[in-house]
């Protein structure tokens, strides 16, 4: 059994970065995720693991610091909340183009614009459909507990190197701020420079006489070569869909109605399922853990068994579009959710089940 601690989600993420052997963290304060950099600055991993921690002058600088670090073969992490993530988008697109590993945490707050500082899930489109420019995808993980704010750092690390692609952990103000018991995994040492060079022969660590120079770039002015490059990226995203979809099913085996949700909304929906079952309503929940790749195949299978699906998210309807695409009109799909920083309650969701799904 690993070490147990009572922590905020943001702190669990920060501690997990140190323990996972992440090489560098670059960030900029914004509510509700500033605990990440505060925790790291207090923990001083640069004195123990050698992990670099730096408060940059902006989100733009911090994401580009991540680019430099990753281009040199290191694993960087950064975190922010919605407005700051928007600023990082250019850099994220560059990193996807240059095929660089990265862990990005978005502790989503209400928006658009400066919005508010309450939890929301309104950055789903930005995270899963692009956000930055160009033909790329992020691998997107949605934690729904403080435990997963820690555990998903390890998954993110593995995926970031497996595909040489940025991974986003799409959290929200609930998961970031709430305190729960966490079982921390044992620390994994950071790689030595020799290990970095062995794992990442493409990295810019200084050109040795026995190899060609290494170049990290997202530029290729020849459209035919650029097309080839984009198609190569596309193949990676297809592979993610084959090999790395993650989801959790709660009471679906006999379900007549299905909720689809992720993150803190899925936590709420779990309670709704319990309430419904007490009333004899056969309600189940599919919790998407990866938002890209989306567990659409599984949802399509479940669509054959249920009378209707309700996508429940803290937004006016973003996830619901992927659910609709997945079931391709085979069953009715509805949306329910509060937005702008308001969190729906389990009974509100149950009412929506009755009023929309069961009508």
């Amino acid at each position: 059994m690993g070490e147990l601690r009572l922590m905020k989600g943001n702190e669990a993420f920060a501690e997990a970065c140190i323990r996972a052997g992440v090489d560098a963290y670059f960030g900029y304060p914004i509510t509700p995720q500033s605990e990440v950099i505060e925790y790291l600055m207090a923990a001083k991993p640069y004195e123990t693991t050698g992990m670099v921690v730096l408060q940059a002058e902006s989100e733009i600088a911090s994401i580009n610091m991540c680019y430099g670090a990753a281009g040199a073969g290191f694993l960087p992490a950064t975190s922010s909340s919605s407005p700051g993530i928007s600023l990082k988008m250019e850099g994220i697109s560059y990193m996807a183009g240059a095929e660089l590993p990265l862990i990005i945490l978005n502790v989503v707050r209400g928006g658009p614009g400066l919005g508010d500082i309450q939890p929301a899930q309104s950055d789903y489109f930005q995270a899963t459909k692009g956000g930055g420019h160009g033909d790329y995808r992020l691998y997107v993980l949605a934690p729904s507990s403080v435990q997963e704010m820690s555990d998903f750092v390890l998954i993110a690390k593995e995926i970031a190197f497996k595909y040489r692609n940025p991974v986003m952990i799409l959290s929200d103000g609930v998961i970031g701020q709430m305190m729960e018991k966490v079982e921390l995994f044992d620390p994994i040492p950071r790689r030595t420079i020799e290990e970095v060079e062995k794992q990442c022969p493409w990295a810019t660590t200084g050109k040795k006489p026995n190899r060609q120079r290494n170049i990290i770039t997202s530029l290729d002015l020849d459209p035919y070569r650029q097309e080839k490059h984009v198609l190569k990226l596309y193949e990676k995203y297809k592979r993610m869909e084959q090999e790395d979809v993650r989801y959790e099913e709660i009471q679906v085996s006999d379900a007549e109605y299905l909720l689809v949700a992720y993150g803190s909304s899925a936590r709420i929906c779990q309670k709704t399922v319990d309430l419904a079952r007490v009333e004899g309503i056969k309600l189940g929940l599919l919790r998407a853990i990866t938002l890209f790749p989306f567990p659409g195949k599984r949802i399509a299978e479940l669509a054959k068994q249920v009378k209707g699906i309700l996508a429940v998210e803290m937004s006016t309807g973003q996830l619901v579009e992927d659910v609709k695409l997945s079931v391709n009109c085979s069953v009715p799909v509805y949306h329910f959710g509060r937005t702008g920083g308001v969190i729906h309650t389990p009974t509100e969701v149950l009412d929506a089940v009755k009023n929309l799904l069961m009508k």
Partner: protein, 258 residues
């Protein structure tokens, strides 16, 4: 005398450093970028630090610098080269790291990154090529475009009342405690090239000391953007750019510090 009798090591007065690749330069004939590339690569060769040096290319005419420089390089988003360099140098503190940036890249879109990297005293080198214009995108006004100077977005000349004043960013960064060595050079004559190369060497030597950022501005030309031939451009640069951007050292380490 036969040509074979002349090609002897003792007669060698100039050779291309092998640290420049065989790829033909993409720069316009007469452009300063090529010469600046050469002296940087010559210094890296002379110091035998090819395996320890990492360069960052900007967005601008020198976006493809990595095609010409035979060292490990990264290509940054427009203006962000110093952010990349900050991370690389902190993770690989025994390497030499430099950025190579134009005036639009360094002093417009990347101003924040430039100033904060300088202010933090990051231990890398910034090579700043100031040609007073956006070369790559076709000659638009730059933050360093001189008052009255024409560019495609100030076709009647830069009117400082409307467009603001040119930014002397080199003087500005010299004020910051994090910069260790700040100098302004040019490469328009053999003598200037020699001086500039000495400054490049100084910057690499100083960067071993880990005492802060070394910043070299090259006042350069853009004959295409300025709509002149190469000779006219160099003359115009001497007559107009140098009075506004005077050459010479701006901040030199005190002897006891070195």
């Amino acid at each position: 005398m036969d040509i074979k009798d002349i090609i002897k090591p003792e007669n060698l007065v100039y050779r291309r450093t092998p640290l420049l690749t065989d790829k033909p330069l993409s720069y316009c004939p007469g452009c300063g970028h090529g010469t600046i590339h050469r002296i940087i690569m010559e210094v890296i060769e002379e110091m035998n630090i090819q395996d320890k040096t990492i360069g960052i290319a900007p967005v601008g005419c020198s976006v493809l610098a990595y095609e010409f420089m035979d060292i490990d390089m990264q290509q940054a988003a427009h203006g962000r080269a110093t952010a990349l360099a900050t991370a690389i140098k902190r993770l690989l503190p025994d390497r030499f790291v430099f950025t190579y940036q134009g005036d639009g890249d360094l002093a417009a879109i990347g101003t924040a990154e430039t100033i904060h990297a300088c202010n933090r005293g990051e231990n890398f080198i910034i090579f700043f090529v100031n040609n007073g214009i956006y070369g790559m995108t076709g000659g638009q006004m730059a933050p360093t475009t001189l008052p009255g100077m024409k560019a495609s977005t100030c076709p009647f000349g830069r009117d400082t009342k409307i467009m603001g004043n040119p930014l002397k960013i080199t003087e500005l960064v010299a004020q910051l405690p994090g910069t260790y060595y700040v100098t302004r050079q040019a490469v328009h004559t053999p003598n200037a090239v020699r001086k500039a190369k000495k400054a490049v060497r100084n910057a690499f030597e100083y960067s071993k000391l880990n005492k802060g950022l070394c910043f070299i501005e090259f006042v350069s030309n853009c004959n295409s953007g300025w709509k002149m031939n190469a000779v006219q451009a160099n003359k115009w640069m001497e007559e107009n750019m140098f009075p506004f951007y005077p050459l010479g050292d701006i901040k030199v380490p005190q002897p006891e510090k070195v």
